[in-house]
Amino acid sequence: MTNVLSVHDLHFSYHDHHPALRGVSLTLCEGDKVALVGPNGAGKSTLMLHLNGILRGQGEVFVGGERLTRDNLPAARAMVGLVFQNPDDQLFSPTVFEDVAFGPLHMGLPKDEVLARVETALNAVRMSNYRDRMSHHLSVGEKKRIAIATVLSMNPQILVLDEPSAGLDPRARRTLINLLRELPITMLVSTHDMRLVEELFPRTIVMDEGLIVADGMTKEILADEKFLNEHGLEKP
């Protein structure tokens, strides 16, 4: 299998802060669906912001086999679809349509192609009839799904989702799980929802205090209750 995303020995600190990442390495292969878990402040979001070059720490990030540099940022950003933790940050346009079209438009695609991509992306998250809705009218669950559509419209090869199930009611959560299961795409998903991890992801990466403390089969990691407790996690 080809390796689509890898990170080598990544270090990063926010200005005047203790380090948020302290030497992180990982590799994702095509088709992998990987969960990223860890307590609050472990560095999950920070790591994700490095995967398409929004933050740039010390170390190396490879996207599609190429080392991330200033020059290939646009290509990398088209390849890694990053969905932020808070949908109100992700959805910054007045209407759903404008938000889903934002990515393709800024990739320089022609108008027809943009329209087609919006259509496909909204279909993929089962929200085609929300095309002309205003973002501030949406419920949290709807916002989360539209947020995923905003990056699907860029046809990414890897989907990076930061806590997609947070704040969802059971039904919205179920819809989201089905959606993630059906999407035929490489995925790295951070979450505190251990039942989601168990159900959806064969592989899990555990982070704590800026380090990866485990990377392996979800079944094995979830079986080790003592280890989970040490890192502020719970068995589902």
Binding site: L49, N52, I54, P74, R77, A78, G81, L82, F84, N86, D88, D89, Q90, L91, F92, S93, P94, T95, F97, E98, A101, F102, G103, L105, H106, M107, K111, V114, L115, M134, S135, H136, H137, T150, V151, M154
Partner: protein
């Protein structure tokens, strides 16, 4: 409590709703301009102008009286015009005593006062109808088409999007303040004015910082989707024949009001 109360759009599928937003913006501005141009006391023209408004109301399926209900929001401002009642020379109508002063209302003053109120009352209703029949993002598109600088329309679009988010935050802050401001018996609640001002200022500072940090995250979200300093927009509106016809017709009618008003 949700800031949905800020929504002014009324969903419907009427003729007016379907018009291109440019048409509605242009006609609204022309209408307001026309009212401002009509001379004092042009009652017939004001009356026709009002009929035009009622007709537009009817065409929008919202009911003939729709804009009437909200049309008094500018009323408190009428106080600033009250002095014209007394300050314009003319034949005295009545005189009364107000505190230390004898005030005389003149016929010319009354004419001017009534005309100002009518202009304001008609104009504000057309503006209400515009936002009731046009979704705000479409108004922003219309402004883009009408050559308002992109940076300004973009700021307005962001303002509209985050208005709701930030106003919700304000409510949370206000509620937190209320929850914490208990009154002790015998002591005037809430401290001095300066103190209350400082509490409010701290809330504004807090809100500023949250907004500032949010703008960082939003910027990141834009970067992640290919933004590189230049904003591309796709504007779904196209003027149809009916849009051109409606604009022309409405402008001609509005021009007629001017003729009538100056006969």
């Amino acid at each position: 409590m949700h800031s949905d109360a800020f929504d002014r759009y009324h969903e419907s599928n009427s003729f007016v709703h379907r018009l291109d937003p440019r048409v509605k913006v242009i006609v609204t501005i022309a209408y307001i301009l026309s009212n401002a141009l009509l001379p004092d006391g042009a009652w017939l023209a004001f009356g026709l102008s009002w009929l035009f408004l009622l007709f537009a109301n009817a065409l929008s399926n919202l009911g003939v009286g729709f804009t009437f209900k909200r049309s008094f929001i500018a009323l408190p401002f009428a106080l600033v015009a009250i002095t014209v009642l007394f300050s314009i020379p003319g034949n005295p109508i009545s005189t009364f005593r107000f505190l230390f002063w004898d005030l005389t209302i003149t016929d010319m003053g009354l004419l001017r006062f009534e005309s100002i109120l009518i202009r304001s009352w008609l104009s504000v209703q057309m503006a209400i109808l515009l936002v009731a029949t046009t979704r705000f993002p479409d108004i922003v598109h219309a402004l883009e088409h009408l050559r308002v600088p992109t940076i300004l329309t973009t700021i307005i679009a962001f303002l509209y999007r985050y208005l709701f988010v930030l106003v919700d935050e304000v409510f949370r802050l206000l509620r937190a303040r209320e929850a914490r401001s208990a009154a002790v018996a015998g002591v005037r609640a809430g401290g001095s004015v300066a103190w209350r001002g400082r509490v409010a200022g701290n809330m504004a500072g807090q809100l500023f910082l949250r907004s500032y940090e949010r703008s960082d995250r939003v910027y990141n979200a834009m970067l992640a989707r290919g933004y590189s300093g230049h904003l591309n927009t796709i504007n779904p509106h196209e003027m149809r024949r009916v849009d051109y016809l409606t604009t022309a017709l409405a402008l001609i009618v509005i021009l007629l009001f001017q003729l009538v008003g100056r006969l």
